[in-house]
């Protein structure tokens, strides 16, 4: 049997990856997502370092979602060592985390994904034709930048998170300076969400079988939690590694994951949306319903719907934080390091981010394990690509390779892969 292959670099995603199409005699047989980016071995680098250094080292894993890494690491040690985080400091930290979600969603929706929705090859093209949209994108982008800067010190690798809380509560007047533009940001978020909801009409609508995994929180739309929700069950984060199975394939520098029973699962906005829709604000739910969206979303192309809804939700939540902000004096923190095993998990913009650390008698990290969301989605990217091709009737041979590759890239972009994270 003649087998041919075709490789193309993934564009408009974070990091270096390739799509490889494998053709049989007549039809495409398989899609492979090649993760070629070189690893940095961050888990190895952490060995011998003190827990207090870990949030800042972990943050360098990803320039888009560094706060997620800081919070996951800090909460792992805080919970395991019974370190209390004052309420005000925790609220500030959550606000920084929410700002990161906003930033990541803006980057993804406006700069990486919009071209797919509108059928062009880059956001620069979109903006040229639609200056209003460009202005809105830029304003929103700048607002998220400013929020991160005031609350965290800068746009990424922020300097204001440590085990036990934060270093400083910013002045109330500085935080209030975000308030004026917050109204506009909420309007922008709503408009953008509506724009997405409307245009997604054009995207494929077939129903997919999809197993979703997400953190759950009884009150809020989830960002930090001890509980993971899967298949109608809940389990504690310390049991996560028992629920999943790791695999390594020759073409990926990222490890890949299925459930222990060998099921393919999905993490990310589409999973959060489906499990926590009722924790979204009334206002956001109403907007979604008016466009006919309700949980569960059962097509990966609706990820962008979930992302736009989150952008709206998180803008509201950040505005709330700003309006009710009351700084308190931050007390000095003495962290008593105890040996043990520590688990932490957060909902990073792309889904569940899991950390485990073993701290030894010398008070330094002996072993670290970090499982980013993109690594967990890799198998689904391949599987859903084949499902998509089959639903479009695009299972043809090599002569259709360009069209096939384009469609596969669109599916992969719906996961918003962060390849640097996946290899870390």
């Amino acid at each position: 049997m003649s087998v041919t292959t075709y490789e193309t670099r993934l564009t408009r995603v974070e990091g270096e990856g390739l799509v490889k199409l494998i053709f049989g005699e007549r039809n495409i047989e398989r899609v492979e997502v090649h993760i070629v980016e070189a690893p940095r071995f961050v888990e190895y680098i952490m060995r011998g370092r003190k827990p207090t250094e870990i949030p800042e080292i972990a943050s360098r894993i990803c320039g888009i979602c560094s706060v997620s890494y800081q919070v996951a690491a800090a909460t792992a040690f805080e919970r395991g060592m019974n370190i209390e985080v004052p309420y005000e400091e925790e609220s500030l930290r959550n606000a920084i985390f929410i700002s990161e979600h906003i930033k990541s969603n803006i980057l993804h929706v406006l700069y990486l994904q919009l071209p797919d929705i509108l059928g062009v090859s880059s956001s620069l093209e979109v903006f040229k034709k639609n200056p209003d949209l460009h202005k809105m994108a830029m304003d929103f982008f700048m607002w998220s930048r400013k929020a991160m800067k005031i609350l965290g010190g800068r746009y990424h690798n922020i300097v204001n998170i440590r085990i036990g809380g934060v270093y400083k509560m910013p002045e109330r007047s500085d935080v209030m300076s975000l308030s004026v533009e917050a109204e506009k940001a909420i309007t922008n978020a709503r408009k953008l969400a509506e724009f997405v909801f409307e245009n997604v009409e054009k995207l494929p609508k077939y129903k997919q079988d999809m197993k979703t995994m997400a953190l759950c929180d009884s009150i809020n739309y989830p960002i930090v939690s001890r509980e993971i929700c899967f298949d109608g069950r809940k389990f504690d984060v310390s049991g996560f590694e028992e629920e999943i199975k790791e695999e390594q394939v020759p073409y990926s520098n990222s490890l890949r994951y299925k459930t222990k029973l060998g099921e393919i699962y999905v993490v990310g906005p589409i999973s959060r949306f489906s499990t926590s829709f009722f924790n979204l604000s009334e206002e956001v739910r109403r907007a979604l319903r008016s466009f006919g969206y309700a949980p569960p979303l059962r097509n990966i192309h609706c990820s962008v719907v979930a992302r736009a809804a989150e952008l709206y939700e998180f803008s509201l939540r950040l505005a709330d934080f700003i309006d009710s902000y009351r700084p308190v004096q931050v007390e000095a923190k003495e962290v008593q390091i105890a040996p043990g095993i520590y688990w932490g998990a957060v909902e990073a913009p792309r889904g569940i981010l899991y950390h485990r650390y073993k701290v030894n008698e010398k008070g330094v990290v002996e072993e670290a394990n970090i499982i980013p969301p993109t690594s967990q989605n890799l198998i689904a990217m391949e599987d859903f690509s084949m499902q998509h091709l089959s639903n479009l009737g695009l299972l043809g041979g090599e002569n259709m390779k360009d069209e096939i590759a384009r469609e596969v890239e669109k599916v992969i972009r719906q996961f918003d892969p962060c390849i640097s994270c996946s290899v870390h």
Partner: protein
């Protein structure tokens, strides 16, 4: 006027600096007008390197032959090559695995280490090709990048950054956390550029903008000794902090330190 043809490539890194590059390229519409963004896989669908470039920004460090070939190709095609961020300038945090034996390192992370194409130690861009400018920062400061771009756009050649963080910190009138609170701060040996963010949050600098260009290993050692004598931080801890971001700046020295510590 001809537009400046721009390329951007990411190597082994986190994309934090890529975001700042996006900001610098797009924040000022007038400047954006004068640029042709010709290669930037994270932003455009264009897949391969073609033609000559006026400015090429490179993020990240170098860990295998493919990357060496890529940056050599970039060098040949570009008038100016700019190393962006601490990874590209000094290797970044990933350099902490240097001299540990890469095969050994792989075993700690992968069940099948033989499948991973990483060949040796971590190199900064400056160690592999000649760069015209290196702008450190983890991440680099987007506004600084914007200023550099503007200068190049008007044809200026004089773009240098040599100052310590303390100078910036003092200009801002911040309280010195090192002197007043005995909090370890790497400001005196760290390159300026961030605007003294950490001291403004009441904490010490951890050196993410990398060591000052003009600093020698002797001065690093003196600084560490001084902190130890003042009872602020153990010398070995100071050095362990410094090498987190600036390993490739003083490789020989840090290798020796790590060996002595036997970790």
């Amino acid at each position: 006027m001809n537009k400046l043809r721009i390329g951007v490539e990411k190597l082994t890194s986190c994309s934090g600096c890529i975001n700042e590059i996006i900001y610098a390229l797009l924040a000022d519409p007038k400047l954006t007008e004068s640029l042709e963004i010709a290669y930037f896989p994270e932003l455009l669908d264009k897949k391969s390197l073609e033609g000559q470039f006026d400015i090429f920004f490179v993020e990240g460090s170098i860990v295998n032959k493919d990357q060496i070939e890529t940056v050599e190709d970039i060098r040949e095609r570009s008038r100016l090559v700019i190393a962006v961020g601490t990874c590209s300038t000094y290797g970044g945090i990933q350099s902490l695995r240097d001299k540990k034996g890469v095969e050994e390192v792989k075993k700690h992370v992968y069940p099948k280490p033989e499948l991973i194409d990483v060949e040796g130690d971590v190199y900064s861009l400056q160690e592999v090709i000649k760069t015209d400018l290196a702008i450190p920062g983890c991440p680099v400061d987007g506004n600084l990048l914007l200023r550099v771009l503007r200068k190049i756009a008007i044809g200026s050649k004089d773009i240098s950054i040599t100052e310590s963080l303390c100078a910036e910190c003092k200009r801002k009138g911040l309280e010195c956390v090192l002197v007043k609170k005995k909090i370890p701060c790497l400001g005196p040996i760290t390159a300026a550029g961030c605007g003294a963010i950490c001291p403004s949050f009441g904490r010490g600098c951890i050196g993410c903008f990398g060591l000052r260009k003009d600093i020698s290993s002797k001065e690093i050692e003196n600084f560490a000794n001084r902190l130890e004598e003042a009872g602020i931080m153990k010398k070995s801890d100071v050095l362990s902090f410094v090498m987190r971001f600036s390993y490739a700046k003083e490789k020989g020295y840090f290798e020796k330190i790590v060996e002595e510590r036997g970790r």
